[in-house]
């Protein structure tokens, strides 16, 4: 066994030491590489990545609504909340990596190494970059898959997409800073749970969710569920928010290096730049929406026709906000599914389907509207030569929107093309209500599914929604039950009988007993609620 080679550790006090000392940059890079691999393999980070992928896989496996007809200007910020577990995991893992010497009792040994503590801290910070790149790859993959889906509409915002990975880097840097400041492993879990709670609490309906103060949190994303807005009406300060996150990260980096005895002009510049960017972007992102934006939102809500383009297919016109054209392919099946069951004079009418959206809201334009602005819509439609346009929501991923279009078209087919849009107080009784239910339910499999979901979630009749709005028209229990019994019969048989008796079925005052006799369907007992005579 040969004797080990003598190692001459350079002494910092001698002049020759400088020449013998390895380049700190290279050592720092080597350490960063090792730490990055350890971070990427840390169980918490792996769980964070799994938390991103599992809901995606679940939605794909169950063919859930998340991947159907995606609207990319909504899906882009949807990636942010999905990255929250990974960001919190990075905070924990980076903190544990920083505390490793303390936990293992090797801190005094590190102090005698040639690599100064500020370089070790810099290496730890640099090790976060690959995790940020993993986050960016996850976001990129998600949005690429959604964009490749048939029926994908809109365009993602690069700023919104970048905010998620920026949040991962920010929270990772926070984990390193907490590790440098506090030697207790309890601080990072407490910080991460408090951050998570603040972010989730800001999503709860209430004052914080409505206020612009939520932009001061790392993640500002309104909950899913509200129909998407056209990109021009969003008014989200995503660019400023990204700059705010970058500024905060620079501040944290400077703080980490300062705590680890880093000095120098470059550090001062990073700190000053980070502070300036944080303050400037932080203030700018809190500005109220401009007057022009508010006017555009109001116009899109009450007089949308001038902001839309129409695609004509035979006697049908499909009017959409810009970039929503791919959704027309989904509407077409529903419209034909209803019109094929109507007499030729109804089928050949110039039907117009028009997107409706509620864009009036404090922060992001989301939220459901209290009431349908039927009078304004009617005036707008008359001005643009499309009286009685059928409303449809801007989202086409859930079956409720499909039922909305089917139900609204059925409403006009039965009552006449020029009828005003139904408001929350509209109740359709007797034969006409049952006919609307049948028409809407038999249009497509998705409209039937949407109807079944509505029926199972309500008691005493059902409300057929108006696209994008939280109101619609009501079908009382007896008409609903009769409509459902019609749906239970073979569709072609009922369709023949409906066509033969169309004038009588669509006339006011036709009784349930008469409908039962005409269609050969058992009539349900009279309503107890007395809504309809």
């Amino acid at each position: 066994m040969s004797a080990p080679a003598a190692v001459h550790a350079p002494s910092p006090d001698t002049g020759t030491a400088t020449a013998a000392r390895p380049a700190p940059g290279r050592a720092c890079l080597a350490l960063a590489r090792v730490e990055a691999v350890r971070l990427a393999r840390h169980p918490a980070v792996l769980v964070g990545i799994a938390a991103y992928l599992i809901p995606w896989g679940y939605s794909w496996a169950t063919q859930g609504p998340a991947g159907r007809f995606p609207v990319l200007q909504d899906s882009d910020r949807g990636t942010q909340i999905r990255l929250l577990p990974l960001a919190l995991a990075t905070l924990l893992a980076a903190n544990l990596a920083t505390l490793r010497p303390v936990q293992n009792g090797t801190q005094p040994l590190l102090d005698v190494l040639v690599l100064p503590s500020r370089h070790r801290a810099a290496a730890m910070l640099a090790a976060l970059v690959p995790i940020g790149l993993i986050a960016a790859a996850l976001v990129g993959a998600r949005i690429a898959v959604l964009a490749a889906r048939p029926g994908a509409s809109g365009a993602p915002s690069a700023f919104e997409l970048a905010c998620g990975p920026a949040m991962v880097l920010l929270l990772g840097a926070l984990g390193v800073l907490l590790g440098e400041l506090f030697r207790s492993p309890a601080v990072a879990p407490l910080a991460s749970v408090v951050l998570a709670v603040l972010i989730l609490a800001a999503l709860l309906p209430g004052r914080l969710a409505d206020s612009s103060a939520q932009w001061l949190l790392p993640l500002a994303s309104r909950p899913d569920g509200s129909p998407p807005l056209p990109a021009g009406l969003l008014g989200r300060p995503a660019g400023w928010h990204l700059a705010y996150l970058v500024g905060l990260t620079a501040l944290l980096v400077a703080a980490v290096l300062a705590v680890s005895r880093g000095r120098g002009a470059a550090l001062g510049t990073v700190a000053a730049g980070g502070l300036a960017l944080t303050v400037a972007a932080g203030v700018l992102q809190l500005r109220s929406p401009s007057g022009d934006l508010m006017m555009a939102r109001s116009e899109a809500t009450y007089q949308p026709a001038s902001r839309q383009t129409c695609e004509h297919r035979g006697t049908l016109a499909y009017c959409v906000f810009p970039a929503f054209t791919p959704q027309i392919a989904g509407w077409d099946g529903v419209v034909h599914g209803i019109l094929r069951r109507t007499p030729p004079e109804v089928m050949k009418q110039p039907w117009t389907i028009r997107q409706r959206v509620w864009a009036i809201s404090a922060q992001s334009g989301g939220g459901l509207a209290p009431e349908v602005p039927a009078a304004q819509w009617r005036a707008d439609d008359l001005r643009h030569g499309t009286p009685g346009a059928v409303p449809v929501a801007t989202n086409w991923n859930d079956d409720d929107s499909v039922l909305g279009l089917a139900g609204q078209l059925a409403y006009r087919v039965v009552l006449g093309a020029n009828v005003t849009a139904p408001t929350g107080a509209t109740v359709v009784c007797e034969a006409r209500g049952a006919l609307m239910i049948w028409l809407a339910g038999q249009a497509t499999a998705r409209s039937r599914h949407g109807l079944d979901s509505r029926v199972s979630g309500s008691t005493g009749g059902v409300t057929i929604p108006t696209g994008g709005f939280d109101s619609g028209y009501d079908i009382p229990t007896r008409a609903l039950t009769l409509g459902l019994r019609m749906l239970a019969q073979p569709a072609d048989v009922i369709a023949d009988r409906v066509l033969r008796s169309w004038p009588e079925l669509t006339a006011a005052g036709t009784t349930f007993e008469r409908v039962g006799a005409l269609l050969g369907v058992e009539v349900p007992p009279a309503d107890q609620d007395g809504v309809c005579p």
């Binding site: 169980p43 918490a44 769980v47 938390a51 809901p55 679940y58 577990p85 919190l88 995991a89 924990l92 544990l96 505390l99 936990q103 207790s184 492993p185 309890a186 879990p189 407490l190 991460s192 749970v193 408090v194 998570a196 709670v197 989730l200 609490a201 709860l204 309906p205 209430g206 004052r207 914080l208």
Partner: protein
């Protein structure tokens, strides 16, 4: 020395040796999470207050994951006191802070619900959820303690707890455990919470037993031979 006397003499040292700061910070943050918006008159619906109370329960229980941290584990593990008793005492230290944190949060939530919100807050069921989360944190910590004989338990138990609670919070659709207060499945889901409480409690007790390898090591062995004393009293001690 009787069991009661041993327990009594252990209380003081356990209280001194248990990590209190994470517990107190967790309980304080939990209480502040509900008390601050309640005192500030924040306008929230009943579902949001229930959401805040659930978050408070999660934060309060986080401190528990650090109560078994014991730098002297190598020496305490050989004491003639069972692991279950030592752990039970440390968990008992955690109970008052967590209960006080929850009580403060629940009282603030209840006051707001009574005065501002028309629908009930369903505090008993939310307390069941909080108790289950607390016991779950204990079970996770005790489980991690079996794998970390060096006594640094919270450093692993806390992230594991956060992952487990995060996963429970994210359960989708019909599998959801944190359902809305207006949900039709409320009673059904809280039967599952009750079941989870029983399972967590049983798991915590089972995991707190001395590892089987140690229990088997009752008599010293040389090869396949168990060495027994001629004196039955000596065998009885081991």
């Amino acid at each position: 020395m009787t069991g009661l006397r041993i327990t009594r003499s252990l209380v003081g040292p356990t209280l001194r040796a248990t990590r209190q700061i994470p517990l107190l910070v967790g309980a304080t943050l939990a209480a502040a999470l509900v008390v601050a918006p309640a005192a500030g008159g924040t306008d929230l619906d009943v579902g949001s207050w229930a959401g805040l109370l659930r978050f408070a329960a999660m934060i309060a229980a986080l401190g528990v994951t650090f109560v078994l941290d014991d730098p002297s584990a190598a020496t305490t593990s050989v004491l003639p006191v069972s692991r279950a008793l030592r752990y039970a005492l440390r968990v008992a230290v955690a109970v008052p802070a967590s209960v006080l944190g929850w009580l403060a949060a629940a009282t603030a939530g209840h006051q707001v619900a009574v005065s501002h919100v028309s629908t009930p807050l369903r505090l008993p069921a939310l307390t069941l959820e909080a108790a289950t989360i607390f016991v779950l944190a204990v079970a996770i910590t005790v489980g991690v303690a079996r794998l970390r004989p060096d006594g640094s338990i919270g450093v692993v138990a806390a992230p594991v707890y956060l992952i487990v609670v995060g996963a429970l919070y994210a359960l989708p659709g019909r599998a959801a455990l944190f359902v809305a207060t207006t949900s039709a499945q409320w009673d059904e889901v809280h039967q599952i919470w009750g079941l989870l409480l029983i399972v967590s409690t049983s798991a915590a007790f089972l995991l707190a037993r001395e590892p089987a390898s140690r229990r088997r090591r009752g008599h010293p062995r040389v090869g396949n031979q168990t060495i027994r004393s001629d004196d039955p009293r000596v065998n009885a001690i081991s």
